[in-house]
Amino acid sequence: MRPDLNLDYALLVPEYILGLLALAIIVIDLMMPKIRKDALPFITAGGLAVAFAVSLLYIDTDDNFAGLLSIDDYTTFFRCFFIAVTFVTVLASAQYVQTHLRHPGEYYSLLVISTVGAIYMAAAQELLTAYIALELLSFSLYVLVSYAKMERRSNEAGMKYMLLGAFASALLLYGISFIYGASGSTSYAEIAAAFEGGTEGFTFGTLIGLTLIVAGLGFKVAAVPFHMWTPDAYEGAPLPITAYLSATSKAAGFALLLRLFSGALMPVIDDWQFMLAAVSAITMALGNLIAIQQRNIKRLLAYSSIGQVGYMLMGITALSPEVSSALLLHMTGYVITNMAAFTAIIAYHNASGAEDVSDFRGASDRAPLLAAVLTVALFSLAGMPLFAGFLTKFILFQSVADNGYFWLAALGVVASLVSLYYYLTVIKEMYVSAPPDSFQQEGRFRIPLIMQGAVIVLTLGVFFVGLYPAPLFELTDSVAAVLFTS
């Protein structure tokens, strides 16, 4: 029993709001069947906006809850980050859910609950809390991926995702048990203290434990060779959930990895760097090479996102304050870009039912705005100048090279060039190929105003990060500094 425990529940208010919101959505869905169809996404978005505003009150707090969660700037950053991603996903889902899915109330409330899991993955400073938060996010995603249950692919994807996810959890837990055995604690700070002697306290058992932890978390963020579930889950899931998977589940995994490796494993950095360097190199090489062969736009983006995971793993490999800041910056840019791409694809899919790359032919005539947004987003993902992707990648690669991993950064540049090729095939379909014959009768697609607004705001975000990154850069710098002060 520890008397000095800080049990200040006021630190957790944003998550209370999210939890209540999730329950409120279900209740509204049950009680008021008339308004639910149109209003639910907007009620959800309103609640998320409140939670976002409340999260901002915690800027510059430096506290912890019962030694389990840190409530510091890093947590505040990710609170805002994940709530914003859910906000965009909810708005982008509105039309799709109405036409394709049943049980809208549970859909939105699961999205909101999964946000709590993602936030606590970033906030946890202790392995058990991190694990439960991870499972909270994963469980919501298992259900959401299989939400289109009338569709065979969705079910099948959900089952594969769930079985592989549970398998990965078992590996992760076995690793955690070894680390617990070696250090006698699950708290990051106490693990770091136990490993303080550097390589001497580092036994073979610890190495195996660490390897299993990397494998388990590698599954969750979809690093090669643990990526098998990604293309299936991306293809089978309802489109907005694919977008959500590519943003929140990845970012949350990295938020956890960053806090874990900087908080607990810094003293033994020499013992794990090589492992992560190898995983990072394979991930970006294979992800980008396999993406070339893909014909389904969701699978293409799945492999492209695997490639992106490779770049982000670089940031964990060469762990240091500057690299962490660059990683956070890159992650933010990537998520904004990816949400822009997916929102455009969702809008296009709602209008046309398109899923294959070839369905996008003549998109520049059928939906000029969406084609332009998608082009911007894909160029940004490939890392072309002017766009967010170029700048964030440049800063990330440079800081990684400065920290002794020049070869990894060089490989990243080559992989980016490869990725440009398959992004260009999509852009070529949209601008060079002629639209299908049905275009003459149908004319241009009608895109709902809210989707137009969403893609325009996200595209502006891509340009903002690409052209005037100074404010964001300062922000991630101060956020990353929190990790290395204690």
């Binding site: 058990l128 692919r153 099948e156 769930m162 078992a170 590996l171 048990s177 006698g184 604690s185 293809e235």
Partner: protein, 103 residues
């Protein structure tokens, strides 16, 4: 006396057998059985460490095991729901034959 190594060896054996089951079974419920076995070996490890290792708070391992059991039970429930849903559409839960999506 039983020592820590004894417990860990049993844990390692159960974990590997569970891994083999999870990788080789064709029935989705069979795969789940393998995963449950793996989770149990984790718990055995945690309890073993909690018992033998000198720690600031030796109880943490036991608490962790309680949570692992909770999550494992929830996992089984969701997996069963998914298996039933897949079976309803496909009349099979043979993982080898669920190949609408390429592995």
């Amino acid at each position: 006396m039983i020592s820590l190594e004894h417990v860990l060896v049993v844990g390692a054996l159960l974990f590997s057998i569970g891994l083999f089951i999870a990788l080789s079974r064709r029935n989705a419920v069979g795969v789940l059985m393998g995963i449950e076995l793996m989770l149990n070996s984790v718990n055995l490890n945690l309890i073993g460490f909690a018992r033998f290792v000198e720690a600031p708070r030796p109880i943490d391992g036991q608490v962790f095991a309680v949570f692992v059991i909770t999550v494992a039970a929830a996992e089984a429930a969701v997996a069963l729901a998914l298996a039933v849903a897949v079976y309803r559409l496909r009349q099979t839960i043979d993982v080898d034959r669920l190949n609408l999506l390429k592995w």
